[in-house]
């Protein structure tokens, strides 16, 4: 068993310990004093360099481990290979499309797809990519050209740094159907039923996605501010958007008008 220094959150404080890593477990010495079998890991997530592991034995315990990328990679490799998850061998391409543009050097990787409670992991010899369930926009069974043949694949649309990316999974059709159903079930909290927008609302949503601000949207669609506000309300109510900036419009008071008149005079004199 190899020992590596890591920081672990213990009693709401980050402490440094020498963690032992074996092929089927990690050992956290005092003051944590825990041995975690990878097969008892019910969920694994990553935020920056922090690995969040949920262990389920009699009760659920969450461990947060902060360490260098190299150690994290080894940890993730072992945990994802053995944890309690839906796992299958597959080819994947992640991401294949980013922000509406197909990635030119995207290629199929041979590895496994591991579905845990909080995310979908794509794991190969060189990659460990996680798509958090909350970031999944759509899952679709579709066809994609693979070596010149239209082939059944699962397309997963997901948010990545604020833009929609698409990843593909390829495996035998029977397995693909099972995976598709499993993914649909895992991500059903993101179901879009009852989320209906009319023509202008849809256009507004698309313009927001494209990066247009309120002013540009009003000009492009030729709609007044109040109408746009009402569409925003609808989008917010449906949980399709969130407020990032509140901008104000002002008009000058008499004092303000006098100020700019004086300023103009002094510039022209």
């Amino acid at each position: 068993m190899k020992e590596v220094p890591v920081k672990i959150q213990h009693n709401n404080e980050w402490i440094v310990v020498k963690m032992g890593i074996g092929e089927d477990r990690i050992v956290l010495p005092a003051p944590v004093n825990k041995e975690i079998l990878f097969k008892t890991v019910a969920d694994i997530a990553e935020k920056k360099n922090i690995l969040i592991i949920t262990v389920k034995t009699d009760a659920e315990t969450v461990y947060k481990i902060l360490t260098v990328e190299k150690v994290l990679q080894v940890l993730k490799k072992f945990i994802l290979a053995s944890c309690n998850a839906y796992r299958l061998m597959a080819y994947f391409m992640s991401p294949a499309i980013r922000g509406g543009v197909m990635i030119k050097d995207a290629q199929w990787d041979k590895g496994s797809v591991v579905v845990v409670r909080s995310g979908i992991w794509f794991v190969s010899a060189t990659k460990q990519i996680c798509v958090p369930v909350n970031d999944v926009a759509e899952i679709e069974l579709t066809k994609r050209d693979v070596q010149g043949k239209p082939t059944d694949v699962i397309k997963i649309d997901h948010l990545e740094s604020g833009e929609v990316s698409s990843s593909f999974v390829l495996c035998p059709l029977s397995t693909l159907q099972v995976l598709y159903n499993y993914l649909r079930d895992t991500t059903k909290s993101m179901d879009m039923k009852g989320t209906e927008l009319d023509g202008v609302d849809q256009q507004v949503a698309m313009l927001v996605y494209s990066g247009m601000d309120s002013h540009a949207i009003e000009n492009m669609l030729n709609i007044p501010h109040k109408q746009l506000d009402a569409v925003y309300d609808k989008i917010l109510k449906l949980g399709l958007g969130e407020v990032v900036t509140i901008r104000r419009e002002i008009q000058l008071t008499t004092k303000g008008v006098r100020y700019i008149s004086d300023a103009t005079k002094s510039q022209t004199n």
Partner: protein, 120 residues
Amino acid sequence: MGKILIVDDTLFMRTLLKNILFSGGHTIVGEAGDGEEGVAKYKELKPDLVTMDIVMPKLNGIEALKAIKVFDPAARIVMCTAVGQEQMVKLAIKSGAKGYIIKPFQAPKVLEEVKNVLAS
């Protein structure tokens, strides 16, 4: 920065692309609402780059692309298409398209693709 011709049958998409490209410092030299008009405008305006929708009336985007390529083999054409039309994109690339963007667009990605194609 380039002189760009936008070919798309929906006014909304043309307006959106126009805004995105304008914000990136490009000049929109013309717009066309179908493939046939797109080819005619290309011959007339000789833009640096064309953004070409695929599904359009009269001539579709692939046919228009081929017609422009006959007129000007060095034409830089970026295909715009919806997700799920990847076969069409491949056909377009085989026919000489220099790049492709998939709807819905995000401004930075569109500008990046256009920049790459203009530099090619």
